[in-house]
């Protein structure tokens, strides 16, 4: 199948364009060996299928980050049949920088000049013919959010794949001196026996740019003589001028400036846009933070009302009647006793308890998706930077925390945008305190049992509490283990955009489907094992303290006595939660399913817990040891087993101490 690759700056509308090209026909995975998300989709045109690959959004194609490496390796090594470069028409000077690097690679580029509507709004006029001629590439104007120009773009791409266009892409000159050095290095590379898979011209350029990856690659190929020569060239140029790497960047911008001068007319005075007006308020010195808190509060409140009260009830009812019917059906076909028990207790009691929360998770991700796609999240990080900095943390730590509210695994991976090791280590170690989506069902069951009137408020408070503990630990880490100043803060604030329905729904589906997948695999396995353990040894009263599971729980339980929930059931639940947090509720659902005929989990919980122990249990689940996937991610990202083990124990200690404190102080104050 022919391949089309999409490249572009972050916020250039690349993902929206990808969605417009492929529809719901897409697949998200990981690039091999790295944790960068890989998005692929299928485009059908004239009954022929094309693979569309959405490369990570980058400003450049250097070796600065894994994103950039993934994008440039795909273009040069996987050789897509055509590369569509998505360019934000309102900010060509900056977006064309990536284009210049594509031209350097010598690949066939089609420029999708996107957001033409916003450019028109800003009174920016672009001469397509001139632009196309100056770059030597095809240029197609598009408005991805309104699906304008998509057909043209597809047609042009297909024509290009079929070889119906002859490309005469421009070569960039970096000035006589550097051009000569590139030529010299290229010749040496060509005559050497070295086997690098990249074009020599491009390798020569990258070597002069001091590209760390390319330096390593040449070194590994016994190319030390080449590297010595490159260093001579660099020193030679730097003696009379700037370092070549900066000259090269300058020359690229010069090339761009000439094109923009020819092809683009901009109004001399910039118009004050709606974005500017909104920013005046939401990034305000005093109002910024309260506005952010209010927005988050509304998000949780809405999540609760729509997700739980309206949709959740319906789904719970559906699952219950399904359970009944399946039970009757199994009885009718004379299924063995143990199978009926497993299906009703393990599957419906356990996994069903988890699935009841799918609507809630859907609503929450829908709202988060809207906030993210609208551009507000970047403002939230901006507003939080001041607080973060006063704690000795980097502002972007907050973004990794926000991502962590979905799942701590991507949250920890999001810390890669932090440049300094110190900032990154702290951000990774505190991320597990951020409550993830999998912990939601736990709170919801306990809220339904004890605080049904104040659901949104309790949920919001738990999240805030998690953030506070994370920030406090961050402060402690930055004062003790990882000293030094936080590194510089650089972040783009994209203009506000109306999120597209499709984009938000796809984003939500990504999360929900992975939640469902986990329910079907990991959670299913855990529940099965626990169910077996809870009915063995043979002949024991199922799900009783005498079962193997009961004995394990009884053994752990005393640890949790000071926190008020020293029952074997709660202990087993927490224990299972280390495999996956969804398993906490699945386990409780299973072990309490047999408490009394027809008693739902919530009612069982009301009998064994009190409001105070419910709070201390929720705090424990909020803070204690993260799930295996998170521990594994910390191990991989820190590249150290030590930090993974430290995380396991210190988070447990923090969770235990705080839940004990809550319970003991609560008791003293007369709560029960």
């Amino acid at each position: 199948m022919k391949t089309i690759a999409l490249v572009g700056n972050p916020n250039s509308g690349k993902t929206t364009l990808f969605n417009a090209l492929t529809g719901a026909n897409q697949h998200v995975g990981n690039w091999p060996g790295v944790t960068v998300e890989k998005k692929e989709g299928i485009l059908t045109f004239n009954k022929e299928k094309y693979k569309v690959v959405d490369l990570p959004g980058t400003y450049s194609l250097g070796a600065y980050s894994e994103d950039e490496m993934v994008a440039r390796n795909f273009i040069l090594l996987d050789r897509p049949d055509v590369v569509i470069n998505v360019v934000d028409a309102t900010n060509m000077e900056r977006n064309l920088y990536l284009t210049t690097q594509l031209l350097e690679m010598g690949v066939k580029v089609i420029v999708a000049l996107n957001m033409m509507d916003e450019a028109a709004e800003k009174n920016i006029k672009i001469n397509m013919d001139k632009l196309s001629k100056q770059l030597g590439t095809l240029v197609v104007p598009t408005i991805a959010s309104k699906k304008n120009g998509i057909k043209d773009l597809i047609r042009v791409s297909v024509e290009s794949i079929k070889g119906n266009y002859s490309y005469s892409q421009k070569e960039i000159s970096y000035g006589k001196e550097i051009d000569a050095q590139i030529e010299k290095i290229r010749e040496v590379l060509e005559s050497s026996s070295m086997s690098v898979q990249y074009p020599y011209q491009w390798v020569a350029l990258k070597l002069l740019e001091n590209d760390s990856y390319m330096n390593e690659l040449i070194k590994d190929n016994q190319g030390s003589t080449v590297l010595n020569m490159v260093q001579e060239s660099i020193d030679h140029i730097a003696a009379t001028n700037m370092e070549p790497e900066f000259i090269i960047v300058d020359k690229r911008y010069e090339f761009i400036a000439n094109i923009v001068k020819e092809a683009v007319t901009k109004p001399s005075e910039e118009v004050v846009t709606t974005s500017d007006r909104i920013d005046k308020i939401v990034t305000h010195k005093w109002f910024g933070l309260p506005i952010f808190a209010l927005i988050m509060f509304i998000v949780y409140q809405l999540t609760f009302t729509i997700g739980e009260d309206i949709l959740g009830e319906a789904v719970a009812g559906g699952i219950e009647s399904l359970a009944e019917n399946v039970g009757i059906l199994l009885g009718n076909i004379n299924a063995p006793e143990w199978l009926i028990a497993f299906v009703s207790e393990g599957i419906f009691g356990g996994i069903g308890a988890v699935l009841e929360f799918v609507p809630l998770i859907m609503v929450m991700y829908l709202l988060f998706g809207i906030l993210e796609d609208s551009g507000y999240m970047a403002r939230a990080a901006y507003v939080m930077d001041r607080i973060m900095r006063s704690l000795g943390l980097h502002g972007k730590t907050f973004i990794s925390m926000l991502v962590g509210t979905g799942c701590n695994v991507p949250g920890i991976m999001a810390t890669r945008t932090l440049d300094s090791k110190k900032d990154r280590m702290i951000a990774m170690l505190i991320n597990p305190f951020i409550s993830c989506g999998a912990k939601l069902p736990i709170y919801l069951v306990f809220i339904a049992a004890f605080f049904p009137e104040h659901g949104g408020l309790v949920l919001f408070s738990l999240y805030v509490f998690g953030f506070l503990v994370a920030l406090l630990m961050g402060k402690i880490f930055s004062k003790t283990l990882f000293k030094g100043e936080p590194s510089y803060f650089i972040m783009e604030l994209p203009p506000y955009r109306m999120p597209t329905v499709k984009g938000v729904l796809l984003h939500m589906w990504d999360k929900v489907s992975s939640f469902l997948k986990r329910a079907g695999t990991v959670i299913f396995t855990v529940v099965t094992i626990l169910w077996v353990l809870s009915v063995l040894p043979y002949g024991v009263e199922p799900h009783s303290q005498a079962s193997i599971l009961g004995k394990i729980g009884t053994f752990i339980a005393p640890i949790f006595k000071p926190a008020g929930f020293g029952t074997w059931q709660a202990s087993v639940g927490l224990f299972a939660g280390i495999v996956a947090k969804e398993a906490v509720i699945a386990t409780l659902g299973m072990v309490y399913a047999g408490v009394e005929e027809g008693t739902r989990l919530v009612m069982a919980i009301q009998e064994v817990f009190t409001p105070l122990t419910a709070v201390s249990f929720m705090i424990m689940t909020l803070l204690y040891t993260p799930c295996a996937a998170v521990i594994g991610t910390i191990r991989r990202e820190t590249n150290s087993r030590k930090w993974a083990i430290v995380t396991v124990f210190y988070t447990f200690a923090v969770g235990w101490i705080l839940s004990v404190l809550v319970f003991q102080i609560g008791k003293l104050l007369g709560f029960s």
């Binding site: 400003y59 450049s60 250097g62 600065y64 309102t90 900010n91 000077e93 900056r94 920088y97 800003k122 790497e245 900066f246 960047v249 300058d250 911008y253 910039e270 500017d276 920013d279 990034t283 010195k285 970047a378 901006y382 507003v383 930077d385 001041r386 900095r389 502002g395 440049d419 100043e485 510089y488 803060f489 650089i490 972040m491 783009e492 604030l493 994209p494 203009p495």
Partner: protein
Amino acid sequence: MNTPLLFFPQGEKGIVSKIMGGRKIDKRLYEMGLNTGSEVQVIKNDAGPIIISLGGSKIALGRGLAQKIIVSQR
């Protein structure tokens, strides 16, 4: 007159004359379009990171970094 970006008042425009954030950061800023000779306008400069407008897009820069970006007033 050359002044660090940090001391630029809100609304003021200037041309970047020098960036001294260290090799890695300099390259990063260069590639984001903030290089010597580019025109910037300070959108917000009160508390927290400074927001500048660069070719129509907005970039937030920490105050520490803003001290190391030298801008000449127009």
